[in-house]
């Protein structure tokens, strides 16, 4: 006999407004269905009614954990539609900022994931404190703490402030040390390993057929990282590895993100030291003249949560259509599949390891 329990949309650990309908038999999950759409704001349609550079703020609210990444993906799509080249220095600055954003996002994920397996807010608080260091850096670079809107066509709204590099290095050194500490804190706890290892296994074929991307895919042994495979900006000039683990369980996904945190720290340092001097400023918004030369464009970006693809049909003045393949939407679809047969408590461990942001899933 199965019992149907309705988890969410108001629940302590559904990461916002996710509703899960679970059929459980005793303590085993027989069937699990995620219901989404509680945060649907119709952004794709909204964008059609706005001029090109009025849309970045909407884009940032999609994934409020890594806003700049979304902003950048959209602006890059517009740039491609316009046929605009990004300035050399702007490419480097954008790379550094995107990686900083990835660090912030992964730190937030780490805290919430630890919470999902029953860690009483300790790691959560620590991670938020460290994330704040990154947010401070991003604030220096863009002027805002959370919703930056600092991407402009061909560059950025402003260059990095003087002394940014030193402060960034200082913060990164500290965070690197802390990441090691967090790893020890969790992995030396047998209870944590028990909760993560062998839970929510998604093998290689399953991961590919479900279409998951990002750390979730790399946790299942597929080496696919947009930064590596379809390099954009200066990722091909920087030295980094796509982190892959083959186990496909919650622990593999956790480990991939932890390793990625380190890779991102390395990437920022690298980008900061190799950064050429020059001009990074983008065009003034009112000067943009949309051309329909390159009407249909598709841009792919590696966001902290996975691959984001933006498909745009450009019109003069405003986009005719913008379609977003958001990483969380696809990754979340895997939840039902991989939680079948696991225990009730594991649903949340798996959900935590998928790293969902509901704004991103619902758009």
């Amino acid at each position: 006999m199965t019992t149907r329990i309705n988890i969410g949309p108001v629940h302590p650990s559904t990461h916002g407004v996710l509703r899960l309908v679970a059929d459980i038999d005793g303590d085993t999950v027989v069937n699990l269905e995620p219901h989404i759409g509680f945060l649907h704001r119709g952004v794709e349609k909204l964008v059609e009614t706005r001029m090109y550079m009025q849309s970045p703020p909407y884009m940032e609210k999609l994934d409020y954990v890594a806003p700049m990444s979304y902003d950048e993906a959209y602006v890059a799509t517009v740039e491609q539609a316009m046929g605009v080249e990004v300035k050399e220095r702007a490419m480097w600055v954008r790379t550094a900022l995107l990686e900083l954003q990835r660090i912030a996002s992964h730190l937030l994920w780490l805290g919430t994931m630890a919470n999902d397996v029953g860690q009483f807010f300790t790691l959560f608080m620590w991670c938020f404190k460290d994330r704040d260091l990154v947010l401070r850096l991003l604030e220096e670079a863009s002027g805002a703490r959370m919703f930056y809107v600092n991407m402009r066509i061909g560059g950025l709204i402003r260059d990095l402030p003087p002394g940014f590099e030193d402060r960034a290095r200082e913060a990164l050194d500290y965070i690197e040390k802390r990441v090691k500490e967090y790893e020890d804190f969790l992995e030396k706890n047998p209870l944590f390993m028990e909760r993560m290892k062998g839970v929510g296994v998604m093998d290689r074929d399953m991961a590919i057929s479900l279409g998951v991307t990002g750390p979730v895919l790399r946790g299942s042994g597929v080496s696919y990282d947009v930064r590596k495979d379809i390099p954009y900006y200066v990722y091909d000039k920087l030295n980094f590895e796509a982190q892959v683990r083959s186990e496909g369980d919650c622990f593999a996904r956790y480990k991939v993100r932890m390793l990625e945190l380190r890779e991102s720290i390395k990437l920022v340092r690298n980008a900061l030291s190799k950064m050429p001097a020059g001009d990074a400023l983008g065009m003034q918004v009112r000067l943009i003249l949309p051309s329909a030369k390159n009407r249909e464009v598709r841009v792919s970006r590696e966001l902290p949560r996975g691959e984001c693809m933006m498909y745009m049909v450009a019109d003069p003045q405003r986009p005719y259509r913008l379609s977003i393949r958001s990483p969380t939407f696809i990754n979340l679809a895997a939840l039902g599949e991989i939680s079948k047969g696991c225990k009730t408590a594991d649903i949340f461990a798996i959900l935590g390891s998928l790293d969902v942001v509901m704004g991103d899933a619902d758009r």
Partner: protein
């Protein structure tokens, strides 16, 4: 010291008032009840605050700072706020179970604290089978939680109720074996006898395995992390307390700390020599030990992750049970046989 009378009350105030007979017994009982009640409330209140502050320090926060010096009045403010809130009873709930179980549990845990002696002279009663009585009554707790969980007519509470019974299955038998080993060592189950038997060596030294098992079981009994499986807030919202509204929730919080007090008291009495210690008065020693153990339990809360219910069951049967048996056999062979 151990007597089998149920009413062996220490002369607390009857000596001052120069009473005798029944009047003395009544006066001392009332005095004792008042003293211990104050102690329990004070402990619950102070520990509510200490826990908030400790966990805040571990998490690099400040914790309560606003109400009173160092936020000492914060719990009072919360208490008043919670009591002033509306009390709702869910439509589906079984009113009788929903309304009686939490007060019943609270009174049960307070009653159990009353059964424990605080010093050689400050004790309500010293039953010959004291420890057994305590653990028999303590094992009712999960059953009352079960009744409450099913009584509130909420699916999360019902799951919590099922978990409560599974937890009972996983730790009750090892607990009994540890108690048996304590009985073997102390040559009886009277609590002052147990403390007396530790005058040379504390039982934590004599049977470390038994201590580990007992500590783990008490954590589970007190619903402290990593065994707060019943009210796992990340999964079951608040477990069996999901539908409990403010005034009853206050009682539940009170219950939580009373149980922690009880558990720490039991640990310090059974394994850390209870009130024995130099220089300071016995009550102070006992409370000091209890305080340190509670503090340790708080640190565990802040630093571990929750165990899964099926793992706890497996842990109970594959580790706790053999270890407790081993402990019993070793104790018998080393100290008796």
């Amino acid at each position: 010291m151990p007597t089998d009378s149920l009413f062996a009350i220490a002369p607390i105030i009857s000596g001052y008032l120069q009473l005798s007979g029944t009047a003395a017994a009544v006066a001392d009982t009332i005095a004792y009840a008042v003293a211990v009640s104050i102690l329990i409330v004070a402990f619950d209140y102070i520990f509510g605050w200490v826990e908030r502050k400790t966990i805040a320090k571990i998490q690099k926060r400040h914790g309560p700072t606003f109400a009173g010096k160092y936020g000492i009045l914060q719990n009072m403010a919360d208490f008043v706020k919670l009591l002033s809130k509306e009390h709702t009873i869910p439509k589906r709930a079984d009113k009788l179970l929903f309304l009686t179980t939490i007060p019943l549990m609270l009174s049960l845990s307070i009653f159990l604290i009353f059964l424990l002696p605080f010093s050689p002279t400050l004790l309500e009663t010293d039953i010959g089978l004291g420890l057994l009585v305590i653990f028999v009554l303590l094992s009712f707790m999960p059953l009352i939680i079960f009744a409450n969980g099913f009584g509130s007519g909420n699916k999360f509470s019902a799951i919590s109720a099922q978990r409560s019974v599974i937890m009972l299955l996983s730790y009750e038998i090892p607990l009994i074996f540890v108690i048996a080993a304590v009985g073997v060592l102390a040559n009886g189950y009277s609590i002052s006898g147990i403390i007396g038997a530790q005058s040379q060596w504390w039982f934590v030294v004599l049977m470390p395995i038994g201590f580990v098992v007992f500590f783990v079981v008490m954590l589970a009994e007190m619903e402290r992390p990593p065994f707060d499986i019943r009210e796992a807030d990340n999964e079951l919202i608040a477990g069996w307390l999901t539908d409990v509204s403010a005034p009853y929730y206050t009682l539940a919080l009170f219950l939580d700390y009373s149980r922690m007090f009880l558990g720490s008291l039991l640990i310090s009495i059974i394994f850390f020599g209870g009130w024995s210690g130099p220089f300071l008065p016995p009550v102070v020693w006992l409370l000091l030990k209890t305080f340190i153990i509670s503090f340790f339990i708080m640190i565990i809360r802040a630093t571990t992750v929750r165990m899964r219910i099926d793992r706890l069951l497996r842990f109970g049967w594959t580790w706790l049970l053999p270890l407790s048996l081993l402990n019993l056999i070793l104790t018998y062979l080393l100290f008796i046989g």
